[in-house]
Amino acid sequence: MELVLANHSSYPRIGDDAGHQLLRRTIAQRDKGEKTDQDVRAAEDRLTELALEEQIAAGLDLVTDGQIRWYDPVSHLAGKLAGVHINGLLRFFDTNFYFRQPVVKAPPRRSEPLLLEEFNFARKRSSRPVKVVLTGPYTLTRLSIQSQDGAGSFEKLLEAYTSALAEEIAALAQAGATFIQVEEPAILRSPKDFTWLEQSLKTLAARRGAARLALAVYFGDPAPLYDRFQTLPVDALVLDFTYSPGLVDTVAQKGSSKVLGLGLVDGRNTRLEDPASVARQIEQVARRTGLNQAYLNPSCGLEYLPRDRAQLKLRQLAAIKKTFLGSHA
């Protein structure tokens, strides 16, 4: 089985060195009127370059822009849509990280590109393919509130977010994106909504062009929905294995009709995994499923870790791959 090393999504936008604090410092200075929005953009550019360099240096085959420009996984997308205002802070699932909640005043509509410019910037500066990551319509809908004159029902709001993101996916695919990851962590908390997720993904998948479309779920156990995930119109499933001790067995037993993203390296904890132990898990999946290819990635975005630990986690991916290949030699 070919093992492709990939980042999941986000990457720390700060570190302990002065150079890694450029963005924090520049935003603080901008807020005091000492720097401009242009200065902030330049700092974001620099931190994005550093994130790309560190991923490439760690040996990754598929990188992301680190979502360095994102205020959070929700408002960065929803806030750019017409009809949506951004409100107060809420905890992002079970993390100690907070996002700004969208308030929907009218059906959300894409009036400008959301990630196109960011993708083009990263692609020009990366020697490796760049994965584009979007928080999915279902999760955006779950995490939004509707004002009285909003989009209407939950279903209507989901449709509106889906249409907006489908346009973005089409634009990204047209611009050359080869791997687009739609993140839907919220479905693990509301599996009864699966049909809605399925409908939404159908619309997105229809616009993916030549790009590989992946569904990523995390911050919960995907095992109970595993069979249903296999029926979705996506090309890849990126799964968080850290909430589910039995998931490796489930995958090995049931196989997969999709390419899998194996989130076996914990993106939420600093403890480094034992390469031999993870390699054995991959071996189990490879032997039993007969898959030709899988991605090895962290279980979620790496922004929940300090930078030095995030770097170590990426290098651990390479160490795991080496051990896995060694066991096949």
């Binding site: 570190g15 924090r24 935003i27 905890r91 996002f99 700004r100 600093t270």
Partner: protein
């Protein structure tokens, strides 16, 4: 029931006792002292002098406002978890991680066996209590929250790390009781985030408090209350201090469905807004609370710590709390 316990402990409080959740904003001179200390421009002793001055300011201010059960305001703490991590064995300081937007904090790493090395908050409690005749709460962060807000490297799983912490934090509780504290608040704001781990949080609280002679409060906020109620009534504490106003008092509907059985510190002002709510609004929140809860079980306070507000806003919000409680006592 808990009134009787307070009486046994020698504490008599009026109906609808007023208190605050724990933190108050740091005055400008203390912020400057903390920045100067970080840059090694002043000594630890100079920093502590500023911290004592600020603590005294808040004790006097709470007395002036007429608050019944006081707090030291946590002038000596940066963060409610990192502070304890810095004073216990088995932790190392982690690098920066993002909290939100452009805000970052050093998230601790549990990298060894956690051990209580000696009193952490006791001297501050003694200092604050020495300034007033009103009861001052002992203030700690609970084992579950310390675990949840740290990285865990040296324990096989979350539960074992949590229970190890609970055993050590109990020693701090014992030290506070030994020093004379009779009301002790053990904050567990992380409890409402992973409902499936509520039993672990409750088990840890048993380890920390069982058999100890104090009136115990735990503070919980901003999470999936609907998923942990009524289970959270199993916390072995006398009083649950809950954020109510930010969530539109929607917990009251749950209390009507399943009877609330403990004392409650009922948050009647929102701490996440600069706006100081008008007196009628605050009184109405308390009035609604009293329609569902027995009057002698209700304490009154803000939703959460006030450290993110300005000094003036925090004072105004505490004034609202006291005014509303006084208005509804009779």
């Amino acid at each position: 029931m808990s009134r009787a316990k307070l009486h046994q402990l020698g504490i008599e409080l009026p109906l609808l006792p007023t208190t605050s959740v724990g933190s108050f904003p740091k005055p400008d001179y203390l912020m400057k002292a903390r920045a100067d200390f970080a840059k090694k421009k002043i000594t630890r002793s100079e920093l502590e002098q500023a911290e004592r001055r600020a603590t005294e300011f808040w004790i006097r201010k709470q007395e002036e406002l007429g608050v019944d059960v006081l707090v030291d305001g946590e002038m000596y703490r940066g963060d409610m978890v990192a502070y304890f991590a810095e004073h216990m064995q088995g932790f190392q300081q982690g690098g920066l991680v993002r909290s939100y937007g452009n805000r970052y904090y050093h998230k601790p790493i549990i990298s060894g066996e956690v051990r209580w090395k000696g009193p952490i908050t006791v001297d501050w409690w003694k200092f604050a209590q020495g300034l007033t005749t009103r009861p001052v709460k002992g203030m700690l962060t609970g084992a579950y929250t310390v675990m949840d807000w740290s990285f865990i490297e040296s324990y096989p799983d979350r539960r074992s790390a949590c229970l190890a912490l609970a055993k050590e934090i109990r020693k701090e509780v014992e030290a506070l009781i030994e020093a004379g504290a009779r009301i002790i608040q053990i904050d567990e704001p992380a409890t409402s985030v992973r409902p499936e781990e509520l039993p672990t949080a409750i088990e840890a609280m048993h380890v920390t408090t069982d058999g100890l002679p104090a009136y115990f409060i735990t503070h919980i906020c901003y999470g999936a209350f609907e998923q942990i109620y009524p289970g959270m009534l199993d916390f072995p504490v006398d009083n649950l201090d809950l954020e109510m106003s930010n969530s539109g008092l929607d917990l009251l509907a749950l209390f009507r469905k399943h009877r609330y059985t403990k004392d409650i510190s009922f948050g009647i002002v929102d701490v996440h807004t600069h706006e100081v709510e008008a007196e009628p609004v605050v009184e109405e929140r308390l009035r609604q609370a009293l329609e569902t809860l027995p009057k002698d079980a209700v304490w009154v306070d803000p939703d959460c710590g006030l450290k993110t507000r300005s000094v003036e806003e925090a004072i105004a919000k505490m004034q609202s709390v006291v005014t509303a409680a006084k208005a509804l006592r009779n």
